[in-house]
């Protein structure tokens, strides 16, 4: 082949050869199925297994009722909280990896990626075993409680009341914790890649010129890592918004998220058109988020020039 592909306009044929496979893949396995689901959202059930595409907007009308909008908003709030916690927890981790010695860095990165080697379902069940009523977390807390009680008797005080297990599972706390646990690597990796590229002499300069550590972090590191933070936020927020397994398995009676409602339309309710309409509302919301982000990014670029 002739020369490196610096500009695809000069090398149309090799470019077409390379790009056709992914485009074919994208069209056949993404756009076509999504197009069918999109069509369903304008249809209605005419039998247990038959849908007629009638062009009706009833599904969207129903999907924008307050009941479903409130579930959308709740899911968005949960996803935002998860993203925020991931950012607060993930940022120091990414910093630590960036400033770790060359010898340690690959191992720390490996530790971040390690969870991806295990299926999400298995990780979730493992977390549930840990957090259950008679799980290891409660056993550990119970042992500490008993120890404290024993220490009190040593110094002549009344022993504490018997330990009652803490309710860790089947509530909204469990859902947020489970989602943070699952999404943390998605936040750390883009943050790390942004921080790694950061010119460290700028930090030294800031410190030399009298700014404190916290001020240096807020005025130098965070703005320079802005693109990484934005990428991390999007890559965490969007999957968290569509989370379905975690609220299903770890949530309590009021932990349903929009993806659970969608899943039920496709399975139990057997109402595919309505499920399709809900799915597309979710997709549009995600598009809006991405568009907002890229708009912000392009404006920042224009401002810099």
């Amino acid at each position: 082949m002739a020369g490196p592909l610096q500009d695809w306009r000069q090398h149309k044929r090799p470019f077409a050869a390379i790009v056709s496979a992914p485009i074919f893949w994208l069209v056949l396995f993404f756009l076509v199925p999504m197009g069918i689901v999109w069509l369903y959202s304008f249809g209605q059930n005419v039998g247990p297994a038959a849908i007629e595409i009638t062009g009706t907007l009833d599904n969207y009308k129903r999907a924008t009722e307050w009941l479903y909008l409130s579930i959308f908003l709740k899911s968005l709030a949960v996803a935002a909280l998860v993203t925020f916690i991931c950012l607060i927890v993930g940022f120091p981790v990414a910093m630590a990896i960036t400033f770790a010695t060359e010898k340690w860095r690959p191992w720390l990165l490996l530790a971040i990626m390690l969870p991806f080697w295990t299926n999400l379902l298995i990780r979730t069940y493992a977390l549930m075993m840990l957090m259950g009523q008679n799980g290891y977390a409660n056993k550990g807390l119970g042992a500490m409680w008993d120890g404290a009680s024993w220490l009190r008797t040593l110094v002549g005080l009344q022993p504490l009341e018997a330990w009652t297990p803490v309710q860790l599972l089947y509530n909204n706390f469990a859902v947020v914790l489970g989602l943070v646990y699952v999404h943390l690597p998605f936040m750390v990796l883009p943050l790390y890649s942004a921080l790694d590229r950061l010119d460290k002499s700028l930090i030294e300069a800031s410190l030399d010129l009298g700014a404190g550590h916290f001020r240096t972090l807020m005025k130098i590191v965070v703005p320079l890592a802005g693109s990484g933070i934005a990428a991390g936020v999007m890559i965490t927020l969007i999957p968290a918004l569509g989370a379905y397994l975690t609220p299903d398995l770890m949530g309590g009676t009021d932990s349903q998220m929009i993806a659970n409602v969608i899943e039920r339309q496709f399975k139990r309710a057997n109402d595919w058109p309505f499920g399709a309409a809900l799915s597309f509302l979710l997709i549009y919301a995600m598009f809006a988020l991405v568009a907002l982000q890229s708009l912000r990014g392009s404006r920042a670029k224009v401002g810099a020039h």
Binding site: I36, N45, E52, L67, Q167, Y170, R264, F266, N270
Partner: protein, 373 residues
């Protein structure tokens, strides 16, 4: 209502999806690993006693067959049974509505037999190939959800009730009140997440038939559910027996067969069908449309209905069996187990739920409101 149809003639999504072979929204319609596709005629001259290639694709529930049943059948007939598992009727239905991916035999519950027959997804059975049908108890030979057993053969039956930890309750919970309308066991209760079952059982508690609920009833029950919600710990996905066994909850709404399985592990577990009556379910053997080996499937159904074979299956799964001849061979510890076989006067108040396409979305929406409240 049938003005604009998609693609000229009425094209169900089934043919549409089948033609394109796509997967949508996380539900896989994909081909089954290890399942043979329908083949025209047997290859390699390998022909079993039925004139078909000696293979059978069996789509079953988990823990729902005897330990040696499949191997025994291969020994008896030479047919290789390839069993794959599904976890809910919804999963079964979702997989098959996009076209049969190669299954020969499925095990839907009663209301799904009705639904799949209505959707033309299962084929009528040839009773002349199933002489062991005579082993079924008379009440299972003709059932309201499948008159004259046109499409299905009885495999097991089950009833919903309350599984509980004996040491944690003041008295056996013999009324739905403890689950539906009381704060006595606050935070120690798990109920089903299946909207239809929940509404129907609330109806039972209110003294109505499971098949006579009206939109007004649904509204009233929804208000009751919202009121009771703070006392409920979790809506479980038919894994209530695990929650009870692990001590996550002390009372659980579950099927008798599931609780019977853990009663043999933990003597502190009890089961009761509430005095108001309950909802019955029955799992049935059906042949889906487009099955590649229907003759083998008939032979296997007949084999499963055999008394000795049925006994071996029942010994493993411990579910109530509708096979009278197999039940007769079981030990008294099974026949007299109150959890497996509730007393006749309790059973008399239990009903099968009919497939109701109008009410199901209403149940779902009301339950979504309950969860969002």
């Amino acid at each position: 209502m049938s003005n604009t149809t998609f693609g000229g003639n009425k094209l169900g999504r089934r043919s549409l999806l089948q033609g394109l072979g796509v997967a949508a929204i996380g539900i896989s319609f994909g081909g089954l690993a290890g399942c043979s596709k329908p083949e025209s005629g047997a290859k390699d001259g390998k022909i079993g006693g039925t004139g078909e290639e000696p293979k059978l694709n069996f789509y079953n529930w988990d823990t729902y067959i005897g330990e040696t049943t499949l191997a025994d059948f291969k020994g008896a007939s030479g047919v290789d049974v390839n069993m794959t598992l599904f976890a809910s009727n919804d999963e079964l239905f979702a997989k098959l509505r996009a076209g049969n991916p190669g299954y020969d035999l499925i095990v839907p519950s009663n209301d799904f037999v009705e639904r799949m027959a209505a959707a033309d997804m299962i084929v009528p059975l040839d009773h002349s190939l199933i002489p062991n049908f005579k082993n079924a108890a008379p009440e299972y030979q003709d059932v309201p959800y499948d008159p004259k057993r046109k499409y299905s053969m009885p495999y097991t039956w089950l009833a919903l009730g309350i599984g509980y930890r004996k040491s944690k309750v003041s008295s056996p919970p013999d009324s739905w009140k403890v689950l539906f309308d009381s704060d006595e066991y606050k935070g120690r209760i798990a109920v089903l997440s299946e909207a239809g079952d929940m509404f129907r059982l609330y109806g039972k508690y209110l003294g109505k038939s499971v098949n006579s609920l009206t939109p007004e009833d649904i509204k009233a029950i929804e208000a009751m559910m919202i009121k009771q919600k703070p006392n409920i710990k979790a809506f479980h996905e038919d894994n209530g027996q695990d929650l009870l066994l692990k001590g996550e909850v002390d009372l659980v709404l579950e099927y008798n067969g599931d609780i019977a399985q853990i009663m043999s592990e933990d003597p502190d577990i009890g089961f009761v069908i509430p005095k108001e009556g309950s909802q019955l379910n029955s799992d049935n053997l059906c042949i889906p449309k487009g099955a590649p080996h229907p003759k083998n499937a008939h032979a296997f159904i007949n084999y499963l209905l055999d008394a000795e074979v049925g006994k071996k299956i029942t010994e493993t799964i411990l579910y109530p069996t509708p096979n009278a001849a197999a039940k007769a061979l079981m030990p008294d510890s099974y026949k007299n187990n109150q959890a497996v076989f509730p007393a006749a006067e309790v059973l008399a108040k239990c009903e099968y739920a009919k497939f109701n396409p109008e009410l199901q979305p209403k149940y779902e929406e009301a339950f979504t409101r309950v969860r969002a409240a």
